[in-house]
Chain length 256, copies 2
Amino acid sequence: MNDASGESINRESSEPVYAQLVRILRQQVTDGVLRPGDQLPSEAQLCRRYGVSPMTVRRVVNILADQGVVVGEQGRGIFIRAVELGDASFQLQRLQDLVGGDEPATVRLLQASIAAADATTAAKLQLRVGERVIYMRRLVESEAGPVCYHVEYLVYDPARPVVEAEIATTSLQGLFGGHGQALIKHGELNIEAVLLNDEETRLLQAVAPAAGLRIEHLFYAYDERPMSWGWFLCRGDRLRFGSRVGLGHEHPLDPT
Amino acid sequence: MNDASGESINRESSEPVYAQLVRILRQQVTDGVLRPGDQLPSEAQLCRRYGVSPMTVRRVVNILADQGVVVGEQGRGIFIRAVELGDASFQLQRLQDLVGGDEPATVRLLQASIAAADATTAAKLQLRVGERVIYMRRLVESEAGPVCYHVEYLVYDPARPVVEAEIATTSLQGLFGGHGQALIKHGELNIEAVLLNDEETRLLQAVAPAAGLRIEHLFYAYDERPMSWGWFLCRGDRLRFGSRVGLGHEHPLDPT
DNA sequence: CATATCGGCTTCCATAGGGAAGCTATAGTG
DNA sequence: CACTATAGCTTCCCTATGGAAGCCGATATG
């Protein structure tokens, strides 16, 4: 009450105390009350000021720290971090949102066949040239036209027959969600800009020469053997990844 | 001791208990002991099993949860999450690392002059057409040749004269780190694939037609007014962003 | 048999308190 | 004056405990 420094904790709210405090402190940063380089009140002071326990304050500081808002230096204090260009990160999730946003995009299966691995594919999937792979091509279409062209090579394993559902996947959710039956242990992604070749240009109904975003993916099964290699090819003018740094907006890692 | 289920907590280690437990549980996931959909032992069980306090277990679970390894459902349990394509995120930090990795890239200032804002620039910077802006062009070069072309428009504010240091920035660190003197409140980033125009092709010593990655940035000052607009243009074949999903590797958010 | 209640489990939140390690400025010593 | 020791602050870690809210199955009741 004698403290005119803004909001205080509402004990009745359904919002947890720690979340409230995170919000309050973030707000002070966006309002410019706290600026990069400034020192936060010490944890003990925050306890008194907001009437919460040390553990709660500790938790709040931890959250703010790995949100990149503050940085703590043992024995010195907690300081507001300056915004850096390198903080930006692009979530692949956005691709799903973007395309699935207005009108849920449909996925059309262009081809699904069994082929022999060529040199490149064999190298990626750690097979010998000529071994059998499942070759699939899909086209993601929104109402505005084709957006994304997806090529994928799957290791053909008679012991683990590829389920129909896998091939017939016709939703982006299917492509993004559990690939197969959650057989994937981990994956490596690469993103780069490329020139579309003739076929790609035609499929995406672009005008040559056209640039595209190529998102390559390589997934490994639980036995650490490559399982799927492929890439998404998106028209440069129809797909854009956005990101934000600093505050003045909701943090991507925020809950709810 | 009677518990053969792997590692236990080392009380003497300098590694904090919570960090050890995080590591142990992650390891169990990568080893396949715990698989997507599996339920973790309850928090109480984890306490007994590893001889740590409930609060510590709670903290561990929180960390794993926002690392995306597990997901907790109130009243039911904590479950291992399946790897999803959408989990991938590309850190702009990598650009800095990539170029600054082997041989630190140099930044050459091609131009720095005062110009009148055209329609596009004025719109971005919320100025009127014709108002003065600082126009800068930089070329980032590694020993392998030009990598990145940077164009930037700064609002010309006589009250806040642009420091020499700002213009003379010749290191990537300078470009990425504190832009100016940490005047930036927040920024918006966009990444897309584009065709290089003639000048860009020439500067980057590419062969037309060539594709490039365009990273556009728009920075706001603390008064919420745009302050800087520009973009990085990188040769598609010289820059690639990598990312990983799932385990079997160190998590990007891990400390130290 | 169908339905409702309850008890035991779960995740989650918050508190109070104690202690280790690190920084800094001050007081004391040569 | 130069240098050292110390006291008081800081972040950071961990424990022990209690309670809220949600899920689920067993038990009792119509």
